[in-house]
């Protein structure tokens, strides 16, 4: 997939830095302020306001799951790991915590901007995939309903193609999905009129 990363406007975005006070935090804050973000450092607790943050940077060296008010990997915003020790166990934890990007400590003069864009792109891609999977799963669940609706329409003497065609026409008339139309047909337990006028 080729993606075009716009130089999105990060001005005014909020970042929470979950890390004890440290020169690395100062260097990161300086970079974030220069880019135009509002940064807030905290440790070891995340404030309730974190739910409104646009980015979370978290310490991968001393962090643990119970610091986050959400399920591991289910953060509602992009997450960036601050990695000091590259021990495999810590990297694994950071990944499971939902790191969309990383910065290696000590943090100096650069790295924050690319981490922000990378994290946001990865987060958006993950969200889009999750939404698509959820939609596909729903359609999969409704497959049996579609088969039943088609069978009911065929019971009225239509061929299979005609039954599918009628279902499609109803879905269009009602402006709902094919699967939702099938659900209505089955729920009605009787063949509806093709005009479907009752739903306006």
């Amino acid at each position: 997939m080729r993606r075009r990363v716009r130089s999105q406007n990060l001005g005014g975005a909020r970042a929470v830095l979950l890390h004890r006070p440290h020169p690395t935090v100062q260097a990161l804050e300086r970079q974030l302020h220069a880019i135009g973000l509002v940064a807030e450092q905290c440790w070891p607790e995340l404030p309730a306001s974190v739910l409104a943050a646009d980015f979370v940077f978290f310490d991968a060296d001393h962090g643990h799951d119970s610091q986050f008010p959400w399920q591991a990997g289910a953060a509602p915003m992009p997450m960036i790991a601050l990695i000091g020790s590259e021990a495999p166990g810590r990297i694994e934890w950071a990944l499971n915590a939902g790191a969309d990007a990383q910065l290696v400590k000590p943090i100096g003069d650069g790295g924050a901007f690319s981490a922000l864009l990378t994290a946001r792109a990865a987060f958006d891609a993950r969200q889009a995939l999750a939404a698509e999977i959820e939609a596909l799963r729903q359609r999969l669940d409704q497959r049996q309903t579609v088969v039943r609706a088609v069978a009911m329409l065929m019971g009225m003497g239509k061929t299979e193609d005609e039954a599918y065609g009628q279902l499609r026409a109803m879905a269009m008339a009602w402006r709902i999905s094919f699967e939702a139309a099938a659900e209505r047909v089955v729920a009605a337990q009787r063949p509806p009129r093709a005009e479907g006028g009752q739903d306006g």
Binding site: R6, L10, G11, R30, H33, I35
Partner: protein, 364 residues
């Protein structure tokens, strides 16, 4: 008794962009002479100069040599963004500061660099606004093959798209290449409303000659209907362009003979003025404060004395006029003044263009 402070100077005096280097050197050396002769200041600057000769791989080592072999912690230099990025790791290690005095493509705010010329919200945004209103939104983008052209054209592409315009072509050439025929043929074929010129050095000079020739063949390709626009062209390169410069448009913080400016004619170009200003900003940060010359720039800028210097402590950028100029009779005349704009390297304040009402165009 003045404190003598070493000041690094890192410009290529030969190579593809030496005209710009010379303009910057002139600004630096003029300001150094002024500072050294000013009895009100307790400092004098001693230039420590190295010449990378246009070789990009020498900027890092020579900057390191200045910082290692002299007392200099401040270096003025670099023409291309590429060279600036080459020296930043060296500065970071030695806690030194680069004063970068040329326009650049933004999206940077190193803790070890002060940017005294314009970034895109001070050049490209006003220039595009002015162009869209007066000429149209169908552009052809050119550039030399390195970060300046790539990033400027990327941002221009976004601005054009946001304005509902169209990019008719985008083409790059290696630094130093003069093989501009294909560019000219594409422009002839697509007939854009404007050309954004991010070429540098000999490539640019050759291109401008060829485009002027195209304009003699076909009246569409003349400044009144399809101008060539630059964000980094100044008076210092006009001699290399000759008659083909007539009608070129550039945006910048200073034009030499433009009416209504402080000290008209004092500097040869905005590059020279920007280099001159950099030395004076540094002098004001250091004067009367023995030992300050060893401090990192972040420490210097965080002090109260830095408030009036004009460098933003958060981004290390400055406030500059944004003037659109056109070459008329061999010199730039200001044709639009956008006022003073604070540098906003990440476009934090948005990318909204100053709104100008469209100029009515004669329908023929």
């Amino acid at each position: 008794m003045k404190r003598r402070i070493d000041l690094g100077l890192l410009y290529s005096r030969s190579g593809s962009y030496s005209l710009i280097s010379e303009a910057c050197r002139m600004g630096v050396l003029t300001a150094v002479a002024e500072v050294n002769g000013d009895p009100a200041l307790d400092i004098s600057f001693a230039p420590v100069e190295r010449d990378p000769g246009g070789n990009i791989d020498l900027y890092g080592p020579l900057c390191e040599e200045i910082l290692r072999t002299s007392g200099a912690r401040h270096v003025i230099g670099g023409v291309t963004s590429w060279s600036r990025k080459e020296v930043i790791p060296t500065l970071e290690r030695a806690r030194g500061t680069l004063w970068y005095v040329l326009p650049y493509e933004g999206f940077e705010a190193s803790d070890h660099v002060v940017y005294t010329h314009a970034c895109p919200n001070q050049h490209l945004l006003p220039l595009m606004s002015w162009t869209f209103a007066g000429f149209g939104r169908r552009g052809y983008l050119t550039g030399s093959n390195y970060i300046w052209g790539w990033e400027m054209n990327r941002l221009a592409r976004e601005l054009i798209a946001d304005a509902g315009g169209e990019v008719l072509g985008e083409r790059y050439l290696p630094i130093g290449s003069t093989d501009i025929r294909r560019m000219i043929e594409e422009i002839r074929a697509t007939r854009p409303d404007f050309i954004l010129n991010n070429l540098i050095g000999d490539t640019q000079y050759t291109f401008l000659q060829a485009y002027a020739e195209l304009g003699r063949e076909d009246a569409h390709f003349r400044p009144a209907t399809c101008p060539v626009l630059s964000c980094n062209l100044t008076e210092c390169e006009l001699p290399a362009i000759g008659d083909a410069a007539e009608g070129l448009i550039a945006v910048g913080p200073y034009f030499r003979f433009a009416a209504g400016q402080p000290q008209p004619g004092r500097f040869g170009s905005s590059h020279e003025a920007s280099a001159h200003a950099a030395v004076w900003m540094l002098a004001r940060l250091l004067t009367g404060r023995p030992g300050a010359e060893t401090l990192p720039i972040s420490a210097l800028l965080s002090e109260a004395a830095a408030a009036g210097i004009g460098v933003d402590a958060r981004t290390h950028h400055t406030v500059l006029p944004a003037l659109v100029g056109q070459v008329r009779g061999g010199r730039f005349e200001v044709i639009k003044d956008f006022g003073r704009i604070a540098g906003d390297p990440w476009l934090t304040r948005g990318r909204g263009l100053p709104v100008l009402s469209p100029k009515l165009r004669a329908v023929t």
